[in-house]
């Protein structure tokens, strides 16, 4: 019935906003912390996370430790990242 569908929709929206809020809060919690990034071609790098744009396309980082030295400020393309980890 119509009632059931609109309550399903509300439930779905609540779950979605809950997940989105937790994800956004995890990004806020990551600001200023050293993060290990696993990239393609077996590259792993460490950098201090600063901020992300809202489409989660770019991570802005500082003190990026690359195999060829440290880059003071850099942007990482999120599609290049397989996984990232940080300590709370």
């Amino acid at each position: 019935s119509n009632n059931c569908c609109s309550s399903n929709l509300r439930e779905e929206q609540r779950s979605r906003s809950g997940l989105r809020e937790r994800f956004l809060r995890s990004l806020i919690a990551m600001a200023g912390k050293p993060v290990d990034f696993t990239m393609y071609e077996r590259v792993s790098v460490t950098a201090v996370f600063a901020a992300s744009d809202i489409d989660i396309l770019n991570f802005q980082v500082s003190h990026l430790q690359t195999p060829l030295g440290v880059q003071k400020e850099a942007l990482l393309r999120c599609p290049d990242i397989i996984a990232y980890a940080f300590d709370l």
């Binding site: 929709l9 509300r10 929206q13 609540r14 979605r16 906003s17 989105r20 809020e21 956004l24 990004l27 806020i28 600063a50 901020a51 992300s52 744009d53 809202i54 770019n58 802005q60 980082v61 500082s62 990026l64 690359t66 880059q71 400020e73 850099a74 942007l75 990482l76 393309r77």
Partner: protein, 50 residues
């Protein structure tokens, strides 16, 4: 010259409402704050792609 047919951001607001229902404004507020922070830091530091 005609005025714009739709207000900027209106379509986005409709989409946000469809996705997040009553929480749409809260989520949109968090996202806007995050984007502003990103823009402000990028303006200051001018980071390059690695």
């Amino acid at each position: 010259i005609q005025p714009p047919a739709e207000r900027p951001g209106e379509r986005r607001l409709v989409e946000m409402k469809r996705l997040y229902g009553d929480d749409a404004t809260k989520i949109q507020g968090m996202e806007t704050a995050m984007q502003l922070l990103f823009d402000r830091k990028c303006d200051g530091k001018q980071p390059k792609y690695w």
